[in-house]
Symmetry: C2
């Protein structure tokens, strides 16, 4: 018997039939003797519908009031799910953010959870009730309604699990776990049975869209094990948890790719202190996030070449900013390339294994793939390559690090 | 400069354009120097849509959860209206039931307001803000969301006005006031400039659908003046307030009618103690509200004839109950008539004027209208007549009591 938090996303509660299905899954878990808390998102499409309503009023709706508006989506979901559970003969009770004091800061639209009161929920569970909690929402110190940003229901689920000291937080989604790479790109991709928080964070920020990054950070901070699994079958999914010795034996856990960046190069910038700052400040001021940055000596004496990547959606804006700026800095030329991709390998085992980078570069070289830029962290190596080689690179790296082979920490 | 509460119904906030219109009306009042609190209903049709969703899950949804569900309608309205106000440059803030502690009992779906915290709202008003309050909803002692029943936003508005000691509570609706009778039946009907709470209560319960009855009871209890007016023009409407000497001079303030009742007669019931109770108990147990009851001596010796009215929607059910019950009681025959109407005259002046009933009966007799049943209260006389004479009776009574003529308490 376990205390479990189950989180169902918008697709899983997308219509009345699906809500009934979720109710049946919850009842199944309860009948197996578990205590169940359910966190639900808004029905698929509802949040966008509400945002569109606000935008019919004005293009820049007030942020506090927008949160009042969009938080109704989850309110509808918890009511309907609880109605379904009760109509099936199971005692259940729904809670909104304010009712269990899901406390957050006041950053409307992207608030952070600071605490949750567990008393009511624990009392309900003790009395055999299923507890249904609205995801995505909280209240700040002044009882204003706040929302946690896209995917925020994942964070709600983890925070509730942490507050209740739950045994596990199950995140139900439309994929059945975390894979060594995108199975659409490489069918030999294998579902991981376990992955560390840090690896999951790198995977998430590098393009794997399984979990909201903040929920993983929260889970890591409070050591809440997350079980990512499918709401359409009963297969075990992937456990995201604290790393252990077994995980460290695996050098590389996954290969990710991202085709949504663009590269910009500035040639012949005077190699003087403060130049980089003057170059990047206006870009940062425009809220554009620069990813990789590389500086090399220029062929021109006393000068340097600077290369960096930005999201493709900010590409044109960045170029405009640079064109107005380049002469003041003394740069010679701007080159740009939208046809690039970033491929990355991730694994906590890298910390204790040397030579991983060399293995990666060799694997790419063997396929004739030129590496344009490289960036590394403790548990990740990323390379920028020509985007037409993306899939080839992913497969080559997956093979080179033997990711298709089951290891002791993988599913049998 | 006044502190005013304005309430707008579902039709007034039925779409984005109408919400913007309400915002303009509010700003107009504010620009005239008033402090404004706005109470809004759900957008027209929304509450029914939400109830239908719940009924797709089960025919008898849990009442607590149904309130969680339907209260989202008003939440959407306050957010959109506040977004509109702020986009027009006016500082504004929305409040849900729990945020200003609209305390109610725990009768889900038909809760009664027991108190409201005024501090936050008064602080906002002091700071020049427009306050926007969700109608229809409250929270009970355990912070469960409750709703007040159909038309409950009227009661919210009156309760907020009472808590803030507002100068007036303006209820905006699609008619521009309370009339001496239905203008569709008699074009000579005149808009009343003032009417007492008690008269309004009789008018409301007798079929005039301007205000929720409970809101008038609340206004009477806390002496909150209500101004009923149209959201489509700037005409003064009708003030509902405490009665005064001027009002008492007017014998009859209005004529109402109701075609939605049916008459049932039980002939030859033994005239013994307890018979009436045994007859009506099963009807009451089926939640059917019996209106008028009249008992007369039967032509049969030692027996009585009983006549009463029920809502037409409960007519068949009542007959079924009686048919299964009549023999046990010893009744001889059941007669029924769906083609009846109730016409009523209402006026606080009746208390101090004799002969009003005679005047009413004469007026009907003069038109050859037979009176089937009569019932009276301190400020009201109702007659059951053949429904085909309804409009004729209304006109005759309107004329007989000179309601088309302006008096000192009426509008000029």
């Amino acid at each position: 018997m376990a205390l479990m938090v189950q989180k169902y996303g918008g697709t899983s509660v997308g219509d009345i039939e699906r809500i009934k299905n979720v109710a049946r899954r919850v009842i199944h878990a309860k009948n197996q003797g578990h205590q169940v808390v359910v966190v639900v998102s808004a029905m698929a499409g509802e949040t966008n519908k509400l945002i569109r309503l606000a935008q019919q009023v004005t293009s820049s709706p007030d942020e506090r009031e927008l949160d009042v508006l969009v938080s109704t989506g989850e309110q509808v979901s918890i009511a309907l799910l609880t109605i379904a559970l009760k109509s099936m003969g199971v005692d259940a009770k729904s809670y909104l953010g304010f009712q269990i004091k899901i406390a957050t800061d006041s950053a409307f639209g992207k608030a952070r959870i600071t605490g949750i009161e567990s008393e009511k929920m624990l009392e309900d569970l003790k009395n055999g009730r299923v507890v249904v909690v609205a995801g995505f929402q909280g209240v700040d110190e002044e009882e204003n309604i706040t929302t946690l940003g896209r995917g925020g229901s994942d964070t709600t689920a983890v925070a509730v699990a942490s507050a209740l000291k739950a045994d596990v937080c199950e995140i139900y989604t439309d994929v059945d776990g975390v894979y060594t790479t995108d199975p659409n790109v490489y069918p030999r991709a294998r579902k991981l049975s376990r992955i560390s928080y840090d690896e999951m964070l790198e995977m998430a920020s590098l393009g794997a869209k399984v979990l909201q990054i903040r929920s993983v950070e929260f889970a890591k901070k409070y050591n809440v094990p997350i079980h990512v699994r499918s709401s359409f079958n009963d297969n075990p999914g992937t456990i995201v948890c604290r790393e252990d010795e077994e995980m460290e034996k695996v050098v590389v856990s996954g290969v990710t790719y991202n085709k949504n960046e663009a590269k910009i190069e500035i040639m012949g910038v005077p190699d003087l202190p403060g130049v980089a700052a003057r170059l990047f400040k206006p870009i940062a001021d425009a809220n554009i996030v620069v990813d990789m940055i590389i500086q090399t000596s220029s062929t021109e004496k006393g000068c340097a070449d600077l290369a960096f990547t930005v999201p493709q959606s900010d590409f044109k804006k960045t170029l405009q900013i640079l064109k107005g700026n380049i002469k003041g800095i003394g740069g010679k030329e701007i080159l740009s390339d939208e046809n690039i991709a970033k491929v990355s390998i991730i694994g906590v085992g890298m910390r204790s294994h040397s030579n991983v980078a060399t293995q990666m570069f060799s694997a790419l070289a063997k396929e004739g793939i030129n590496i344009q830029m490289i960036s590394t962290s403790e548990i990740k190596i990323s390379c920028i390559i020509d985007s037409k080689y993306t899939e080839l690179a992913v497969r080559a790296l997956h093979d080179a690090f033997g990711l298709d082979k089951t290891t002791s920490t993988e599913e049998n």
